[in-house]
Amino acid sequence: MHSIQLLGSYFNGAPLTWQYLFSQLVAGLTLGSQYALLALGYSMVYGILKLLNFAHGEVFMIGSYIGYFVLTALGGPISSSVPIVLLIALLFLAGMLGSGLLGVVIERFAYRPLRRATRIAPLISALGVSFFLQQTAAILFGATPKQYNPFSLDGGRLFDRITIGSFAIQYVQLFVILFAGVLMVVLIQLVTRTRMGKAMRATSYDLEAASMMGIDIDRVIVFTFFIGSALAGAAGVMNGLVYSNVYPTVGFNAGLRAFTAAVVGGIGSIPGAMVGGVAIGIAQSLAIGYLSSGYQDVIVFGVLIVFMLIRPSGLFGTPVLQKV
């Protein structure tokens, strides 16, 4: 394969070629797609309840574990008892359903009783749920990482590359990017074209007014938690399929970056969460690719600080006017 020169030859050891840039963009998009799915949950819950659900990363973790246990129950990656397409479908179905239900349970027991409490109370409760889930996972599943071992799935074909000219992308990367895209499109359709979506938007706009207009607020909130958590579950299974390892604290790092993505995109905004997630993933990947892996967090959280300073409402957020 011939290198297509971009600018010069090398920058900080990294080749300045179009295909190298493409490979890093694909890696960033793959990672960013997962951040985006996770960020959507943060944003949707914040949009409706004005609650920072810090337990959302742990919902991602549980989704990833559910996928792992389904994979194991179906014979494991090397000797799966079902065809690969069905296997992957089952992993996502179980991961999304399990995480969705977990989100509903968390809302019911940890947040709903505090809905009329001061803003700090549910925030503390969210942190408590986060640690509770982490430690429960450590007790139940052990702290040793469980491995999807996706390189053994279907003889490792998931990681074969499709080559178009000088550009290459792995099947698993293409799948993650496309599937995340499909989930986001479905979510947008759901929010903009269904009665429940309209109720969600109304509740997000003014919870009390929506309630007075006859909208079942509890039902809307439960539905929001279910959808947001199911998307986190999907991201958890994707994480296992691409990066293999799942362990009790896996949701912490991913959750922190996804939260950053939600803030950068404009917390409460669905398109903002999507764009923010992808942007953070790509920023992380390019930082590793062109600077050094040591700079990745500096870049990611530097972006957060810059946005906080120059545009606190994020890319798609609208500034809130406070009446005095």
Binding site: G13, A27, G28, F159, Y247, N253, I288, S292, G294
Partner: protein, 406 residues
């Protein structure tokens, strides 16, 4: 009804927490509260029994357990002279999770338990840095079977100043040996030449950062262009690094990590990105159950005990009791042995204290050991003599084959 369900949920949470607490407490049921005793001396055995490095820590714990069983029952042990009077040993096992904060908590617990006269551990260098000074202030000696960071025994370094000479010992060679072995191996056996690119990767913690810095320096001295990367162990997306290794045409990638599954994943992601050069993992990646990428190399301070004829009986005994060893734990057997022999020596007058054990540890020397070579300590706590690192290559069936003996 709502109140009842909330109460039920709350009760369930408390019950779950209570069960978890009881389970954790159960593991420490053997905690001794009386003072030190020569009838049965108490030692701490620490290691990452859970967490990402659990497979290494559990192997260490199992070798320590087997040693104590054999020691207490009077079975022959390599390096123990015939007629040596043994003081029986009882252990308190503490899980440090390869986490410095946990290691510091464990150190505080062991220090405050007056029955404990010495400790086997810590496993990770970052744990020694965090927990070691606490044990030192308690007057306790501690012997590691795996902490290799060179500065731990350098009295001029900040690590060495925190630990002070005479408290910390190790039965494994330090990273100064490993960095030379790994860099030389890359140059001589992995086809790395002057002017080539090599990617070296640490995991942003106390073990891997200085080790990779030392390996990088050795390679740079030989004219190699080194791309030194740093990625935390909790982040398992190596895709961008793999793309970079391919892009810069790296001849070799060297990873220092204490998480063997990360080495496996990185090697797999490198292959998926189209990388075709060599891959070398340092001693922390040595785990034949987790790192099984064919063709990759692993350097380690340990030897394959199954290949040492004199160890055949003990190796078979271990396999029967715990299953196959991943060979990370045998040095911990030797660390426990050094401590047990020092305790026995201190007990010759029928009395024992932490100070006496600490005084006697450097006087113990083994003419032979489970590791197949003599063991003794220098004044600074390092091992006597020039025992070096062994390099293994992973075979297509996942087994480890020695390609450069230590």
């Amino acid at each position: 009804m709502r109140k009842i369900s909330l109460v039920a949920f709350g009760a369930s949470v408390i019950a779950l927490a209570a069960v978890a607490g009881a389970s954790a407490a159960g593991q420490k049921a053997a905690v001794a509260l009386a003072g030190p005793s020569c009838s049965t001396a108490t030692i701490g055995v620490t290691g990452p029994f859970t967490g990402p490095a659990a497979s290494a820590g559990i192997d260490q714990r199992n070798w320590a357990r087997l040693f104590v069983t054999d020691w207490n029952s009077g079975k022959p042990i390599p390096g123990v002279p015939a007629g040596f009077k043994r003081t029986k040993i009882k252990t308190i096992e503490d899980d440090t999770q390869l986490n410095p904060q946990v290691a510091a908590t464990v150190a505080t617990q062991l220090r405050s338990n007056s029955a404990v006269v010495g400790v086997v551990g810590f496993s990770g260098s970052q744990e020694v840095v965090a927990g070691g000074p606490i044990l030192r202030r308690g007057g306790m000696v501690f012997i590691s079977g795996s902490a290799t960071r060179a500065s731990l025994t350098d009295p001029t370094s900040s690590d060495g100043q925190g630990l002070k000479t005479g408290y910390f010992y190790r039965v494994v060679p330090n990273d100064n040996f490993q960095s030379v072995v790994d860099a030389t191996f890359a140059l001589k056996k992995m086809g790395v030449k002057s002017g080539d690119h090599v990617m070296t990767v640490d995991q942003a913690e106390a073990y891997s950062v200085p080790l990779i810095a030392a390996i990088s320096a050795q390679l740079q001295k030989a004219g190699v262009v080194v791309d030194h990367e740093s990625q935390p162990a909790t982040q398992t997306d190596f895709t961008s690094l793999a793309n970079k290794a391919v892009g810069e045409h790296a001849t070799a990638v060297i990873l220092a990590s204490q998480v063997a599954s990360n080495a496996q994943l990185f090697a797999q992601q490198l292959k998926a990105a189209g990388y075709s050069g060599g891959f070398l993992g340092t001693d922390g990646t040595f785990d034949a159950t987790k790192f099984t990428f064919p063709g990759a190399y692993v350097s380690t301070f340990s030897l394959d005990v199954n290949k040492i004829p004199a160890d055949a009986t003990i190796a078979a005994q271990f396999t029967k009791a715990f299953g196959a060893t991943n060979n990370f734990g045998p040095p911990t057997w030797v660390a426990t042995q050094m401590l047990a022999m020092a305790i026995s020596k201190a007990c010759t007058d029928g009395k024992i204290s932490r100070n006496e054990v600490r005084r006697d540890v450097p006087t113990i020397s083994l003419k032979t050991s489970l590791l197949g070579h003599p063991i003794g300590f220098q004044k600074d706590g390092d091992q006597l003599g020039g025992v070096s690192f062994t390099v293994f290559q992973i075979q297509s069936d996942g087994s480890y084959k020695v390609v450069q003996p230590g």
